[in-house]
Structure formats: C-alpha cells, structure tokens
Amino acid sequence: MGKILSTITKPVRDFNVEARAHAVISKERPTAAPRYKVDQEQYKLIMKEYPDALQESLKKNEELDKHLKNVFLTSYDPVVKDRNPRQNINLEKPLPLDRSATTPFEYGFHEPKRIPLGKITLRKVLRFISEHHVDSKVNNAAKIAEDYLLPEKTVENILKYFKMYEIYIPTERKVKATFAGPTVLRKQIRSSDGQKLLGTFAKNKKDML
C-alpha cells in the first residue's frame, strides 16, 4: 500500500526539487536548525535571568588571554638507567645473546648437558649398542652398565631387544649396456619386438654418427 502511495506522491514531492535545492545551498548564511522545545525553554529562561551573559561571553577577556600566553611546554628525553646491568646476570643461567639462526640438532632434539643418574641420552645408547655389536665379549652388559651408570638389568634388556642395522647395498645389475637406457630391458620388448627395436635403434645410431 505504501509503495502505491509513494509512486503516486513522488512526482509531487520531487517537483522542481533541483531548483529548490540550489536555492537552499546558495544562501550566504544557512538558516540554523530550530532548537528542541526543551532547549528553547532553557534558552529563554537564561536570557531572562542573565540578559548580559551572551554579550559578555562573546567579548575577549584580556586577563585570561594573558594567562594563556604565559603557558609554555618543553619536552625532554630522560636517560633511563640500564635496568639489567651486566654485573647482575646470573652466570649459572646466562641469558641467550646469540641471535643467529640455530642449526637443527643432530638427533632432532635438544640434548641437555646434565643427565640425571639412571638416565641416558639416545646418542650414548646408540654408541654402546654399536660397541656391543662390534665386540660383544669385551663390551658386555656388565661393563656397559658400569661405564654408563645404568642398572645392569636395563642394559641387558636394551642389548637384547635393540640392535644396530647392517647396511646392504644391492649390487649393480649387469647388463650389456650398448646404449643409454634403463638397466633392465623390459621383458615385453625383449621377447616380442626386441630385435626389431634394437635393430632400428642401431640403425638410427649409425645414421647419427
């Protein structure tokens, strides 16, 4: 309903709207918006009780102006004392001073300097397992337990259940390599069209040479 009404009344509302707008904005002093009713009454009341107040506030007060001229601001940068002088640093727990990027750890984790009794780092475990692997009679569980300060039972278990690997590198496959290609001829090519393919290849090679 509202839409229908607005479609009807809009042309009437918009009649000559641009000219009216221009008339408003081309005024030298814009007309102030009317006060609210409450404010209007307050204003009237003040004007009635203090008729000179408005005129007084518009005048320049020489006294106050002089005070304002006497105000000055200066800024300065105070030297702050070093709160952490070097002497106070705890030498047992020095703070890190090196800001360069750290290299990754050899075993992938930080290894502490101090190891509690009955514990061991992975590095040392790997060392004694390999020592045992090399010579199991000399480096037996009792000796390792004494050297690395571990219970003998624990060392026995570690040596029983954890072993070093031996690396086997497969030997190169021996192929009559007359041309650069895969080390193993594909079975299918070899069996069916092998000779033909090889023949054409040799021919091409000759042509190229």
Binding site: G108, T121, L122, L150, N157, Y161, Q188
Partner: protein, 190 residues
C-alpha cells in the same frame, strides 16, 4: 565356474600382495579448491625433513631416505634401531625398556602392533607400564602408527615409535603399480 576362478584369483592376489602400501593413499580429497588454487606439500619429501616412514610391507618399512628396513624397528626423530620382537605379545616392559631410560624424556611413544588388536587386554597390560614411567603411550595398528609418527615428527616433537610390520595388507592397484615401477618390473607378471 567363472565366479570361482575370479575369487581364486582374488585370493591369490591377496596372498601375493607383498607390495608396499603407500601411506599417502589415505590423504583425503576434501580441501580441493580447484585447478591452480590448491597446492600439495608432501611432508616426507620436504627439504631438511627428519626421518619418516614412506611405506610398509609384511617384511619391513621403507623410510624417506630411500632405505628399506627389515623387520620390526624402533624409530626416533633422526635415528633408527632394529627392535627384536616377533609378535605383539612380546611387547612388554622389558622390550620397551629403552624408552624409559632416555633423557630428555620422549614426548610420546607410538607403538604399532601390526594388525589391529581387538583384544583390549593387550592395552590393559601396557597402561600400568606407561603410568609407572610417566610415558605418553599411543597403541595403534602399524599403518596408523606410521602416519602418526610422521606427523608428530614433522611437528618437531621428540617422538619415538616401536613398530611391528603388519601381516595383512590391503593394497590398492595404485600401490601395486608404484612398487612395480620402483623395482622396474612393470611388464613382468606375477
């Protein structure tokens, strides 16, 4: 008749499925934004990455440094040891002894028990051990244990895993193809 032959063939392929099942298979296709908008980083192949498991078979594991490890293994962020156990029943306080004496303490110990253990008494047996030594223990089938270890290692945690190769592997055609390509025997028939 044809049906029976087909089932027979399937059985044979199951028995002969000694192909390494690649772990990357389980990566999901959920977050695909369209061509040119999505990139994939494979954790195992990134530069400077620590030791990870690329695949496993009934006989052992393939690591991301192109090494194939035979039998059960104990793997650490950058080192690997052979683990001398045969079956999940061998996993006890004695065979996990090494992980209790390490300093710094390992963040988490992932135990891969091979095939899935349905019997919860196995877990119950290990929990007192974990509580006694204050070890965070994760008992999983080996396929899940491998990927768990990889992720935790990629995050830079001090993770250790003790893994037994599984006895049953359901390999996909893709896995079969990849292992044949690796051994350059693509055209050979089984």
């Amino acid at each position: 008749m044809s049906y029976s032959i087909r089932t027979l063939i399937r059985n044979i392929t199951k028995i002969n499925s000694f192909h390494l099942r690649s772990i990357s298979k389980s990566a999901r296709v959920l977050s695909y934004d369209g061509e040119g908008k999505t990139t994939v980083n494979i954790l195992n192949n990134e530069e400077g990455v620590s030791l990870m498991i690329n695949g496993f078979s009934q006989t052992g594991f393939r690591l991301n440094n192109d090494m194939t490890v035979l039998g059960p293994m104990a793997i650490f962020p950058r080192s690997v040891l052979s683990w001398n156990v045969g079956k999940p029943d061998d996993i006890d306080e004695e065979s996990l002894c090494l992980f209790t004496v390490l300093e710094p303490k390992i963040d988490i110990l992932v135990v891969g028990v091979g095939d899935k253990v349905h019997d919860l008494s196995f877990h119950k047996k290990l929990f007192p051990f974990a509580r006694k030594h204050n070890i965070n223990l994760e008992i999983l089938p080996t396929d899940q244990a491998c990927s768990t270890f990889n992720f935790l290692n990629a995050e830079g945690r001090y993770v250790a895993a003790a893994l037994i190769p599984p006895e049953v592997i359901d390999s996909t055609d893709d896995d079969v193809l990849k292992s044949k390509m690796r051994y350059q025997s693509l055209y050979e028939t089984d």
